[in-house]
Symmetry: C2
Subunit: 415 residues, 2 copies
Amino acid sequence: VSVVAVAADSDFPLANIPFGVVATSDGRERVATIVGDVVVDLAALHRAGLLPPALPDGVFDTRALNRFMALGPSATHAVRTRVAELLGADGDLDAVRAALLEREAVAPRLPFQVGDYVDFYSSLEHATNMGRILRPGTEPLPENWRHLPVGYHGRAGTVVVSGTPVTRPNGQRRGEGGAVDAGPSRRLDFELEVGFVIGPASTRGRRVKTVDAAQHVFGFVLVNDWSARDVQAFEYQPLGPFLGKSFATSISPWVVTLDALRPYFVAPPVQEPPVEPYLRTDEPWAIDLELEVDIAPRGKTATTVTRTNFASMYWTAPQQLAHLTVNGATVRTGDLCASGTVSGAAPGSRGSLMEATWGGTDPLPLADGTTRTFLEDGDEVVMRGWCGGGRGTPRVGFGDVRGAVVPAPPLTSAP
Amino acid sequence: VSVVAVAADSDFPLANIPFGVVATSDGRERVATIVGDVVVDLAALHRAGLLPPALPDGVFDTRALNRFMALGPSATHAVRTRVAELLGADGDLDAVRAALLEREAVAPRLPFQVGDYVDFYSSLEHATNMGRILRPGTEPLPENWRHLPVGYHGRAGTVVVSGTPVTRPNGQRRGEGGAVDAGPSRRLDFELEVGFVIGPASTRGRRVKTVDAAQHVFGFVLVNDWSARDVQAFEYQPLGPFLGKSFATSISPWVVTLDALRPYFVAPPVQEPPVEPYLRTDEPWAIDLELEVDIAPRGKTATTVTRTNFASMYWTAPQQLAHLTVNGATVRTGDLCASGTVSGAAPGSRGSLMEATWGGTDPLPLADGTTRTFLEDGDEVVMRGWCGGGRGTPRVGFGDVRGAVVPAPPLTSAP
């Protein structure tokens, strides 16, 4: 129960208390949380002396969560606990009223300054599907896949917040006749992913052990790792995805903390063969997190094209973090580590159009009577995610990450 | 001629005036340049009112070049011109004396905050060598190679300044018998590269035309893209290099400006087949830049193992920048774009041990009587680069980028 109204199906009850950055109409940005449909200005609460006294001056009066995230789990815990007191059943609405903002009156911003952006490839079903589609007749899984969490670095500077339009990329791709030329991607796709964000940095030359992951993982966001499949197909040998991915990666505006998600941790799939000792973990870091993807053509009804669950991922955050640092590389505050596309085994649970349409051969019907192999200009992709809410557990949600496709600019011949 | 002494073979005559960041023994950092062996504190010159008045307050009183680089070419030009006046033959040593620091009294820092780090693969000889070594009996060049500058994103958070020790990475690699396990890399290598640094950012959704490259390229540095060949070999399919590269990338401390390098621009190799219009350029952006690599075992004489020239690169900076942004991706101030390994055709001109020892099959003799296939603990790798200095043109150099290999920490079995 809260002093502000929270609907039963809200993603943001007092059990959640995620963190983000919002701007008011005057352009001023500050760190905030959200309860129901009310945004709470944490900079204002802090100035009013209502938050724990040990927090540094100005830590919320800023345009990014990085300073706060760097303080570590005890600061996160203290702030969430205090906000729950202030807004809980025994809270004092008058004391906090000046810090409350209507959700519609603020614009969400990119919640943190992204350090490095790493994209893993941790769904067994996704990796298997992609192998079958791209390399039919061969063993679908790369031989390294069960030994380590395969991943690569994406472009940090093009991570954008939900709601940012996504321009269809130009690039070099092979046409029907086999000739290569440059122009707008003809196979624009989404990838449904979940990412974790680094709070305290690690030390150069020292790996992060799986048992220490919770000291470094601040929280999770939904990720749409937009992909131009034709551009990617022509460019990716031998150095991996590059321009087929780098044009945009969208994330949800509210970072859901590790603490809020812990009640939904479940055991991950058994790994066979057993992994190297540095990747072993007995902690159940898979997350029972329901995921959905809608496609809404401009002005038309949305169609849910994917329903899946994050609990099926083969590799978990502590393993990804242990692997990322086993070579002595550091992680920094604000590093974003995405899971790779989340796909289930059933046809309706595939996290990309590449899989859902089996390489574009099996079009998906939409509610407006059209079909899709890949995204068309004007299509909006909306991803949602939530834990619990059914059988006695509170719903802890991510809100959504959305983005609409706008046409590619003409690629004029002038160099 | 300068009011401070500049040796004839100095990398830093008044024709250079590169930019970097140095710390004094009290830990204070500021932006500086170097003339001969004298470091010039630009924050001090600015405070004394000796630099162009339009520069923002505190632009040099900071730990990174980013704010200055973002001002663009006119600001760079104005500062270099003014420093050349102050320290030139008609300069006034008394006026600048308070801003001069002995080179030995300061420590170079990472000169800029790295945004994204992109590593290209732009040497025809290197790409051909790697294809022959890794995929013998097949066409060595990937089919996309002459169509676009192949590249990938590296780890920005582990770019370090020259002099930083490099810890041998642990990772998963295949042993002699074919089994995979985790432990210290047995095939640690260097890669000789040259990188450019972005000044003013580009606009989202808008490509940078090759003719506009000079508006965005602040300058160049030497890059050692350290590589663990065994880790890379096991991990890199299908998503490209990851932990085999991410443990460290070393750069030289002084960013040599585009303007200082222009006198050494030469025509790049002819591209056949012709490239897409967005990649075309008539400007001669290849750089006649001599490069050398030494290996110095701890306490022993150095051996020069590579001598080559950067002018041979197939793809140039304007093409790399045009490609990087053709999909609408932005570049940001501080983005680092490395060339890929610079290798010539002759055996003594190969920019990595992988090539110089042909995959470890042909050991290199060193001056101390030992040989190397790959780097051993204690080896220091020193790369140098310079333009001109021979036939009437002043020498404009980069100084060096160096790093010594320290042993891998034990990979204990505790997760």
